[in-house]
């Protein structure tokens, strides 16, 4: 996998750590990410063959920005109390979409996308649950630095668990 494929993963880290202070927030954000990024992906799949490379980037940004803006408006209208905490990360989804559009080419795009959605979901649920569980006793767990520490521990545990598997898989998951 090329180095550039790490970009979307790195971008997903921000909302993952930022919104996983509460399990419900993490789930909502993950759901929004899946909905928006796949809607963006399929829209772009339709348009891509008809666009020049340069226009492709603009089109991708336009679609992503419009979708994220609409999602934010819907969040304000229906889950206002959570929107306060989620707003920044909903906007961030747009960045994720554009990054995904540009890292993987051709058939691999869908695979990278699906795998990222799965990893993001799994980490969002486990990190959200863990932070909420520990957070009542250790307030640090609810703050962003605590989130990063826990994420590191989770990934380390995952790595130890798949330690027996092939080296290539290990390398891929070690740098999210």
């Amino acid at each position: 996998m090329s180095n550039s494929a790490y970009w979307p993963r790195g971008l997903v880290l921000v909302p993952l750590v930022g919104a996983s202070g509460s399990l419900v927030n993490a789930l909502i954000l993950w759901l929004a990410w899946v909905l928006i990024s796949f809607a963006h992906g399929s829209t772009m799949a339709l348009l891509r063959p008809r666009l020049t490379d340069r226009h492709g980037l603009i089109a991708s940004s336009l679609v992503a920005a419009a979708m994220a803006a609409c999602a934010d408006l819907l969040a304000q209208a229906w889950i206002l109390e959570r929107q306060d905490a989620l707003s920044v990360y909903i906007g961030w989804i747009a960045l994720s979409c554009v990054a995904l559009e540009y890292v993987a080419v051709g058939e691999r795009r869908l695979r990278v996308h699906l795998r990222l959605a799965g990893q993001f979901g799994l980490l969002a649920i486990s990190l959200g649950a863990l932070r909420e569980l520990i957070g009542s006793g250790v307030p640090l767990a609810l703050l962003a630095p605590g989130g990063f520490i826990l994420l590191g521990l989770l990934l380390a545990a995952y790595q130890a668990w798949i330690g027996n598997k092939t080296r290539s898989t290990l390398k891929e998951t070690s740098r999210p």
């Binding site: 008809r50 666009l51 020049t52 419009a66 408006l73 209208a77 206002l80």
Partner: protein, 203 residues
């Protein structure tokens, strides 16, 4: 040829994106405003136990315009009733803190005793004065049960000013501002009790 199609798609896409966002914004504006109002109401009413009122206190303002008090400004007053009789009066007060203005909500029972004090807005120093923001708030609870008469005026001060209230550690100005705002509110309540509790209808 591809270039022209591509540019045309782009223009169309831009129009669609702006149009869709604009339409959604118009159609959700009303709902968003209502939600904001509901959230604001809920945060304010946290100050009262739910079994203390059965009306919508914030829909019953008692004063029409802000009133300037000696050391603070009274922005609003609301009456909470239960079974038709006044069970509490909410006084929304604004006072100058250390960093900026502080907005407080003071709940007073019909006998003039503090039921609760809640910070609605503040921009005090994080880690020091900002400690007045949390809810429930241990320091703000030291005002519970206090009234204009108990303690008497001399007692309404911080310990370092020979009063009887502890201060938030490292935040004398903030503590003093809050204390004076609460005292002002209680004095106002004392002087306008009949009108605030609805014992006599005004004007």
């Amino acid at each position: 040829m591809k270039k022209i199609t591509s540019a045309a798609i782009l223009v169309l896409l831009g129009g669609l994106a702006i149009g869709a966002t604009y339409l959604l914004q118009i159609s959700t504006a009303e709902r968003i405003e209502a939600q904001r109002q509901a959230v604001a109401n809920r945060t304010m009413l946290e100050i009262l136990p739910v079994d203390r009122y059965d009306n919508q206190p914030l829909a019953q303002p008692v004063i029409a315009t802000p009133v300037t008090l000696p050391r603070s400004t009274l922005l609003g007053a609301y009456r909470a009733t239960r079974d038709g009789t006044t069970s509490a009066v909410l006084l929304r007060s604004q006072v100058q803190g250390y960093e900026g203005s502080i907005e407080l909500l003071v709940a007073v029972d019909p006998e003039g005793r503090v039921l609760g004090v809640k910070t609605l807005r503040q921009s005090e120093t994080p880690g020091l004065g900002a400690a007045i923001a949390g809810w429930p708030n241990a320091w703000l609870q030291t005002f519970h049960g206090k009234s204009r008469q108990a303690p008497v005026d001399e007692g309404w001060g911080l310990r370092k000013d020979h009063g009887q209230f502890d201060q938030v550690a490292g935040a004398t100005v903030t503590s003093k501002a809050v204390l004076q705002a609460v005292h002002d509110a209680l004095r106002y309540f004392d002087e306008h009790e009949a009108r605030l509790t609805g014992a006599i209808s005004h004007e």
